[in-house]
Assembly symmetry: C2
Homo-oligomer: 637 residues x 2
Amino acid sequence: MQFHLNGFHDGDPSLSEAAKGRSEFQGDIPGELDVLIIGSGPAGLTLAAQLASYPNISTRIVEQKSGPMKRGQADGISCRSMEMFNAFGFADQVMKEGYWVNETTFWSPDPEDKEKIVRIGRVQDVEDGLSEMPHIILNQARVHDMYLDIMHKSPSRLDVDYGLTMIDLKVDPQGGDYPVTVTLKHTEEEAEGSEKTVQARYVVGCDGARSAVRNAIGRELKGDYAYQAWGVMDVLAVTDFPDFRFKTIIKSANEGSILIIPREGGYLVRIYVELDQLKQRGESKDITLERVISASNNIFKPYSIDVKDVGWWSVYEVGHSITDKFDDVPDGQAADRLPHVFIAGDACHTHSAKAGQGMNVSMGDTFNLGWKLISVLNGKSAPELLHSYSNERQAVAQDLIDFDHRWARIMSAPPEEHDETNNESPLFQKHFIEHSRFTAGLSVKYRSSALTGKDTWQNLASGFEIGTRFHSAPVIRLGDAKRVHIGDTITADTRWHLYAFSGSKNPSGPDSQISKLCDYLEHDPNSPILKHNPKGDDVDSVISICGIFQQHHHKLDFESLPSLLKPLKGCFQIKDYEKIFCPDLKTGDDIFDMRGINREKGCIVTVRPDQYVAHILPLDAYDELAKFFSGFLLDKA
Amino acid sequence: MQFHLNGFHDGDPSLSEAAKGRSEFQGDIPGELDVLIIGSGPAGLTLAAQLASYPNISTRIVEQKSGPMKRGQADGISCRSMEMFNAFGFADQVMKEGYWVNETTFWSPDPEDKEKIVRIGRVQDVEDGLSEMPHIILNQARVHDMYLDIMHKSPSRLDVDYGLTMIDLKVDPQGGDYPVTVTLKHTEEEAEGSEKTVQARYVVGCDGARSAVRNAIGRELKGDYAYQAWGVMDVLAVTDFPDFRFKTIIKSANEGSILIIPREGGYLVRIYVELDQLKQRGESKDITLERVISASNNIFKPYSIDVKDVGWWSVYEVGHSITDKFDDVPDGQAADRLPHVFIAGDACHTHSAKAGQGMNVSMGDTFNLGWKLISVLNGKSAPELLHSYSNERQAVAQDLIDFDHRWARIMSAPPEEHDETNNESPLFQKHFIEHSRFTAGLSVKYRSSALTGKDTWQNLASGFEIGTRFHSAPVIRLGDAKRVHIGDTITADTRWHLYAFSGSKNPSGPDSQISKLCDYLEHDPNSPILKHNPKGDDVDSVISICGIFQQHHHKLDFESLPSLLKPLKGCFQIKDYEKIFCPDLKTGDDIFDMRGINREKGCIVTVRPDQYVAHILPLDAYDELAKFFSGFLLDKA
């Protein structure tokens, strides 16, 4: 955390000063808005938490419920979402409160007595080195609380407007600055039934599987259903089943399957129980809690479970669905028409609960959309950038639906008999490992586009695959010798990041490649920093550069390094000491080795505001670098 | 964190339900109190935060200032204090906000040109393995905020009563249940000057170096002064000195010394500057900020510092002082009289700022006192226990004063010339390393007493030295395979902890030593658990036992282990899965090796509520164990 740049301030450093005119009471929704978000689930809040940092952008988020969620149904937080939470600054809080999925265990019928289950395998849930973050289980409502806290502490003092539902939305592509007209209706108390019309530049529908926004722009969720009912319950229970606090997959011989997901706090456990094959949708609605518990006990044999308290339970039918486009621009009209309405999360794709994707993909949607909207509204990018949201995220959602299908088939396949004399691990354990990148949220790869460079120089940094998330690694910060994660340099703002990895030549002399690169970036009229950074703003406010050198941090002289790596910032022009890094040679976790950096040549790794690797270029590819940024950043006014 | 034991609860798990009759508005101070704390600095708040968990104990804390501290002068947080913060649950927040002291560097006059300084050494600030916690710099006011947050979220909803100063205190040893009479005076606004009398069972003076409580019980701070003025300033500055964000000690040839302590947030830096030798106390009061800055620049040569903004500055004179006893019982009367008034922190010992001890020792005082007061007030211990506070903490303070003297001499010794051809590290770097256990707060060793056993069986666990703080180590929790720190099992309550380390015999059979120990503890009429645990309370509410086994966690069957290690707790009698541990054999951090546990015999390590090792006993020393606890715990009513 960096703070006190413009002088010492009392109190909580995460509490920003309120912008002019903003206070705890945000008042009535104005008639004109830059961004209106419909729905305050994970997708809506991830977006609102980003926009809240920009009080110059007028944003509101409405929710038809009467107040914040108290207990959510989603609970799985992937490594990838944790990395994103880290950019928002609350990953540590989630790690503290949540259950850590450390190992997953697998149970099947005992070959000696098929009425009994036996453990046939166990596997580390997140393989070593996959992410610096763990896989966590935490009640969705707590994630909401953390986003709400960011919003409350932001300069905007943004809060959700509860008790408002959207009843109409119209887009007039020729409608000037505020082309979207939305009618909201109060659902609460004295104002109940009264309506309000808002004109917005952009509307984002995060309003769930029954999305009114999606319907209003004429899009449709298309999906398929497995005609399979599952029960789910959060229980306090006593059992002799030994893996009750492990993520566990149990397949019994004849009674169906169970998925155990231990919950936060050390006691509560979520159990998914396979119930009946259904003849038609909706048939599961009469299934009782007693039925779900007794089905569990049948599967658990020879163990049993004595349910003492049920926090929540439900029965659902497995299904997946997706919308073919995530904005309001009709197919084939992208060249002539700009998007003004977007849909995100369950509004455009739904997943089966057990693959643990729903909340994660939804948040990923609006983490993709947020920086784009802000860049456009702040005049840093042209509005054409916004087409990329649907392009990028629809493909991701489709991939995950395909994964979901595969995983559902694996879960519902008949149990295998485990042969103790055979050293092979059981098949569903193998499948589990194969799919671990999906479960961890790390299978996303954006295709080549204006935002994602070609892989011409991929071999300069083989461990930073273009289009995938920037895979952090530990480094030593030169300025204070702290071991940190290089990924911690990215916060949830709209900045782009250049990571300049040094080649083998003398790094600190004025002739070194990094010095020359910094010189170009700082002084050349064609430099993307000079071209795109608003005058008067800190030099790293649009594109931030960090240098990573190969030497031990005792062998590198801070003061001799290029000035762009230790820029003077803020009203007093104070030096930033947190942009220069060395490998951790003490532990041997050398980022150059870990991420396959070409030690002779070095390289520039360009990273998007949403933590995805955008491009890899040689240290002297100045023109390519400038051209890349010109593809989506406007020249400064 | 463990929660949801008695059913799922919405919201922040650290927010306790308010006890009956408690709310955000705690109302007027009642005429009778169990505990009255005078002063809301680190000592007072550390005590209040412990007492706040017990709404049955009536506690108030008064402060003469009008509101919470905004910017404090103390900033160094030792590893030991961080371990204590971990028991309170906010170490992670401090790690997130604070500056990490990673390396300390040493500068002396350049032998070639004595007008210039050169770096002559650097050293890792906290040696590997000394503590699982870092050495942190964070504004004292933020530590206050975190304690206040605990108090606000406690069942008591305790808050500080600001604007109240103590003007009189009298103790009548024969005065019945509430033998201390305190007169408080309002210092604020409409109530200014009005007085209030309170009768208290116990009063704790945490009211600083000018303590009115200390004066009222006739104790005196005795000390000595170095007649040396130092300047201190928190600055935003630009400099070419390369170690500006390292803890750095500079000794110039003729201009004096500097100590640099970088502050939280990445920009702010605290600089201590040696100024004049004084002829008499108080002589430094005319020294100006300009003088402090120009003295710095003289020492920094050939570097310079351009101060852009000063958050806070002061000039002080080095001194140390101590009181000979920390309670109101006159010397030699301990057998006949019980203590009712205590003093803590600066009220009974002051240190020089640069040794970084002040705030840490103060918090250590009341972390020692807190559990004792609570145990006595809750009827678990006889009030004689309270004599141990002064006995234990006065000795600690005296040790630290001695260290402080040594350290002050080292700091003010003339600079040495560093001979580059000599591989020896410079002398003050050597001294720094020698004293690192003091700086880290880890030099405290309580002497043998009712609370601290003899070292008869110390060799069974050589790494857990009796009387010193329980040195945590990583372990794998069997119930969910999470890598945790064994020390995380201790929270800031009044519980005692038994860590039963298994011997080499079959650990999980009913004949194993741990099984027999658990059987004794659970069923034998002489068991300290049966004798001291109130009926109806959870079995681990007074003495909690954890088992640590030598096997890989995959080789140990959870369900076969003794029931006392997986007790049923709470209103639903739910199993606790967080009391059984195995070594981390994957990383090789094996707690048995790290802490010198006798692998053949195993042992019981007994740990006090304040995280100090109380005793080490063989696994079958049932009588000794029972006798030890009978030394300070009452039989249950």
